[in-house]
Symmetry: C2
Subunit: 271 residues, 2 copies
């Protein structure tokens, strides 16, 4: 089910700036049994994104009401909230008074193979590099062609995700998940201030792992890490089994974070 | 008037990948008296963009027919063609068989002050830098948040455009136009293989100026050029009068290119 500006419909204006320029933001939020354990963090990131893009922030109470309406009857749901700068005069200039378009849509959670949580997933090492744009880094904006191109690098269904690097060869993230490496005993996740998205589950894990470091993570260092795992607010914690030829085993930090994930109320996956 | 996939309508699916990810391309084409003098170059760039983004290229004959239909009755029209990867399963992966969404829309040409062509325009020097992404450079894709942010840097209506640099301090373009500088006697336009858009009028001018150089153009060099002008397939040739405090005068190359522009059939502006 889908609401556009509160109305039950499934279309938007063809001249919406979300389509013309990718001028907007989105959130993808997992619901389980009518609740969204990471809702507050999603709202925090969305508000931050609105500030960065100079979009008027939506009322979270209104979003929550619409989210409940569209997810109703779906036990395990993925909610997508999209906000755009709406319709304005032609051209890049922002309208003086933007009329934000608000799309709230729910989908059943895609099936995820339980062995992925137990044994880990295989990753492709992407040739696509993330460009460095500090003005857009961290936020979940609608300009996602880099991710589309990176995801098109493999079609083998046995490969679940890809590792994306910045132009200097630092590992940044997967195409639709953040990355943690355990170096020695220290969990490390890449900085996302020049490229990448500041994932909501990443923020949750950083709060749960006070010893974790947020720093540059050269790919070479990442590939010799003791453990590697992905986190996504839709898919949870996925240990990495392999990046190309390099093999990993699920480790204690990934297992602890899977337990943390389940503790949040996401009971579906069993590692 | 607007056609979406050949139908007279003004909406698209809210789950179109053009809106979800900016997954598509566009062209903005000037029509004058039922003709588009740069049509062939626009079609060439669009086909090249489709190849780069792995989109099936549309039939130019079909596009031409739709363009004539929507511009009918508008003497001076701007046509926007938007192609997106349509609707697919959720996620960044490209659908195996994409159903491209095709939007063909016409607008009356916005009024442009004739003194801009005679005396030149004032430019803002943008703080926003264009990120370097060779995989997307040159093509006119839908990921345009950088241009939106750059254009938001000024609101003074006396300033017509902004100069955008790459992260190394090379001048690249304006927010919605390409840039030529005349250094000594040589017209120079920046390379657009790491960022920027390969403008259709830029290509036309390069063909008309065999002595022109396409190379890196450090901003410092650009600011001491003998002449500076912008080119846009909608607005034509705009001499630059000032970039911030630095003052320029319209020069002979800009005047020659304005004559070339008029020679193409764009008779509206008189420099």
């Amino acid at each position: 089910m889908m609401l556009v500006d509160g109305q039950s419909q499934d279309t938007v204006a063809a001249l919406d700036r979300g389509l013309l320029y990718g001028d907007g933001l989105f959130e993808t939020i997992r619901f389980v049994g009518g609740n969204a354990p990471l809702w507050a963090r999603h709202m925090q990131r969305l508000a931050h994104g609105c500030e960065r893009l100079r979009l008027p922030a939506p009322d979270p109470v209104l979003l929550w009401r619409e989210a409940l309406a569209v997810t109703q009857g779906i036990v395990d749901a993925v909610l997508r909230i999209t906000l755009t700068r709406g319709i304005g005069a032609r051209g890049y200039a922002m309208p003086a008074v933007p009329h934000v378009t608000r799309i709230v849509a729910a989908f059943p959670l895609p099936e995820i193979d339980a062995t992925a949580y137990r044994d880990g997933v295989r990753l492709h090492l992407c040739e696509t590099r993330l460009a460095e744009q500090p003005l857009l880094a961290g936020i979940k904006h609608l300009n996602r062609l880099e991710q589309v191109l990176a995801r098109a690098e493999w079609s083998d269904p046995a490969i679940a995700e890809g590792v994306l690097c910045d132009p200097h060869g630092n590992a940044i993230s997967a195409t639709a998940a953040n990355l943690f490496a355990v170096i020695g005993d220290v969990p490390v996740t890449p900085r996302v201030h020049r490229c990448g998205v500041a994932g909501v589950l990443r923020a949750e894990l950083l709060a749960a792992l006070p010893q974790a470091q947020v720093r540059d993570l050269p790919l070479a260092e990442c590939l010799v890490a003791g453990e590697l795992f992905l986190c996504s607010s839709v898919r949870g914690i996925l240990p990495v089994q392999a990046v190309g030829d390099r093999v990993f085993a699920p480790g204690p930090v990934a297992r602890a974070m899977q337990a943390h994930w389940r503790g949040l109320g996401f009971t579906w996956e069993q590692a």
